[in-house]
Amino acid sequence: MNNPSEQPVETTEGGGMTRRTAIKALGATLGAAAFAQAIAPLTEWTENMTMDEYLQKHYKELSPFDLGVVMSRLEAETKAETGVDVHIGDYRPQPGVKFGYALNLSICVGCRRCAQACHVENNHDRPSGNSYIRVLEMEKGSLDLAKGRVNYDKPVPSKDKFYMPVQCQQCDKPPCVSVCPVEATWKESDGIVVVDYNWCIGCRYCEAACPYHARRFNWTKPQIPPEEINPDQGYLSNRLRPQGVMEKCTFCLHKTRQGKLPACLEACPTGARVFGNLLDPESEIRWVLKNKRVFVLKEDAGTRPSFFYFFDE
């Protein structure tokens, strides 16, 4: 009820209300000015953003032509920023292929060259030394991850230890995919779980869901000297990532979908890594699965990994 007697009227002087209104207006003006000042960094940030980028559709909704335009735009942006000519390709899964990876823990020496190769191949942020692979030094006689450590710094291998590199397990039931609120990450027909860097909103729910510490977030814009940029890039894999989005191991799909091997395997000096098509009965990976006693990491998590470990002896 609009009852004036309910509240004490502010003042009986003629100019009272006007003065109060004037003060309010002044306050509002000051507030607006302070507001503009406060959000100034946002304006700087949006200066580098184009409308095309902002309104870009999800990877699966882009026509081949649209995707071509997007990739050309990204190539041009890299050229403008770093002066490097890169090629970004859209490598699709091949029919009849499902990738699997196996790792021989008996001969892995823990040299971490796989992690280093990943760092270079996938255009990782240099200051943080990021890589999709972490190598755990484990106690012999135990698979308890709590007894492992990653920060060893000494000649390897140590006699009483074994070494276990861990990367994305490309699960058949990936928890990271089901939790994503915007379908920015999904499993492709060849088993690789990918991220659309231009669709991810950066909520990091997938990172919380992953039991293998396989996901990495771009906490800042990745820094990489122009001469070190790998110019052979995949749209869904190793292209330069934007700030604020998630990324992960893609089994180097820009290589493997063209019949090549992942960088981590190529770098391994001991031949501990076996990669191939699980659907091809003649493949080496199938031979390993058939003849070795393989196991998967955290089987109890129910994630059904496509990444297997085994011991020789």
Binding site: P41, L145, C203, Y205, C210, W219, G302
Partner: protein
């Protein structure tokens, strides 16, 4: 409704809004000082967030090991506070408690402010907030029903809409000097009761569904969330009612406070029981899946940043539980305010940093990396709290006329003995 009526409603709605704005911005110098303080804090937070968006979440203390921190901790707490607001509504509507009726709007407005805050805490946690439209069903790709986060988006926005509708309708009717038509709000009130339960259950499922995080992966999480919500919510409202009586001249009867005190009395004890159950399960069996629990309560391999926090929270829970058990607590506003503050802060620690952070320590590969929020995170967090208090202050200011004048039904209803009705009000003098 014919055209003329509609036109009249539209104009009067415009006048209503204008009136609301001018009511909300009038007040004493203390009021202006309070609003200026909140505005300054909110703007500082806004600036810190803008810097964070420009430079990346690297300016926070989070990393690939502890990928959620202070923001998600506060988000979780705020959802609980919003759900807790319904503890005003349940007695009033399910048990037809008329004296509660007059004050339900306090709980509903608190819910509005808390939901806005929880949404803010999610937005500031996003790496690419400008892509929020990817989540809008229809134009984006909404991963519903698989992703629990999409459920949370639905229930939080639904709860916000429900409470905005209920409060907005009651205030508008009041402004027009009409009796609110129950058909236009009572069904929504009943819906909001179930909805309140759902917002916190869904938020718990967000965490408990993750098999890779043993600390969260417990069926007790959702019930515990609800119980803690029904500590923090009523505790806050009790203090709010005292403030409304003291600063706003709102006649607060003894009964609503008594009902809320009874609720907190029970929920505090249930929560302590739940903490004890969790501790027992974590400690007795052992195994590496209990590492996070060990880290939280006792520290792990020399890392023990959260140990003082969680024991502070447990201590506050125990002390406030004892204080609430005192039979006459309801007539001692100072004692009660302290107990409420302890309970509220205890839950904030326990359900915030105490629940979110340790789930990441050790990481899923059992690396131990501790988390310390940075200044930017504290600024943003303080900013959102200030923003929430701004919303709450303004909303309560607009609602004051409703609150000052009891519900007509309450007057008609026989108050337990006319003579004693004066005693059922808490006298300001007793503070």
């Amino acid at each position: 409704m014919n055209k003329k009526d509609v036109a009249e409603h539209v104009t009067s709605y415009r006048r209503f809004l204008w009136r609301a704005v001018s009511d909300a911005t009038d007040g004493s110098w203390w009021f202006y000082a309070w609003m200026i303080l909140l505005t300054a804090l909110a703007l500082t937070g806004l600036h810190a967030w803008a810097v964070q968006v420009r430079d990346g979440l690297g300016v926070t203390g989070m990393n690939d090991h502890v990928s959620w921190g202070l923001y998600i901790a506060n988000f979780t707490f705020m959802v609980g506070l919003a759900a807790g607001g319904v503890m005003m509504v349940i007695p009033a509507y399910l048990y037809h408690d008329h004296e509660m009726h007059d004050l339900t709007i306090v709980g509903e407005l608190l819910a509005v402010a808390a939901i806005v805050m929880s949404i803010c805490f999610v937005v500031v946690d996003m790496g690419r907030p400008e892509r929020f439209w990817h989540m809008i069903p229809g134009i984006g790709r909404f991963n519903w029903p698989m992703s629990m986060l999409t459920w949370d988006v639905l229930v939080l926005n639904g709860y916000l809409a429900l409470n905005l509708h209920i409060c907005g309708y009651l205030l508008f009717k009041r402004f027009r000097g009409e009796r609110p038509d129950p058909r236009w709000y009572v069904p929504f009130v009943y819906l909001s009761i179930f909805w309140a339960i759902s917002i916190h259950t869904v938020t718990a499922f967000l965490y408990s569904g993750l098999g890779g995080r043993p600390l969260w992966n417990t069926a007790l999480l959702a019930p515990r969330f609800l119980v803690t919500a029904f500590i923090a919510g009523p505790a806050f409202i009790i203090v709010l009612l005292f403030l409304l009586r003291k600063l706003g001249g709102v006649p607060v009867a003894l009964r609503p406070v008594q009902v809320l005190v009874n609720v907190v009395r029970v929920t505090l004890l249930i929560n302590l029981l739940m903490i004890a159950s969790e501790l027992f399960t974590e400690l007795y069996g052992g195994g590496s899946h209990t590492a996070s629990g060990h880290y939280l309560f006792f520290g792990l391999n020399g890392a023990n940043a959260l140990v003082p926090w969680i024991w502070t929270a447990v201590g506050m829970g125990v002390v406030s539980a004892v204080m609430f058990l005192r039979p006459g607590v309801v007539t001692h506003p100072v004692w009660l305010t302290v107990a409420c503050a302890l309970a509220f802060t205890g839950i904030w620690i326990e359900k915030g940093m105490g629940l979110i952070v340790p789930a990441f320590i050790p990481s899923s590969l059992h690396e131990i990396v501790e988390y310390f929020p940075t200044l930017v995170e504290w600024q943003v967090t303080a900013g959102i709290w200030a923003w929430g208090f701004l919303i709450l202050t303004v909303a309560l200011k607009i609602a004051l006329p409703i609150l000052r004048e009891p519900h007509p039904e309450a007057k008609v209803a026989p108050v337990a003995g006319n003579a004693s009705s004066a005693e059922t009000r808490i006298h300001p003098a007793s503070t």
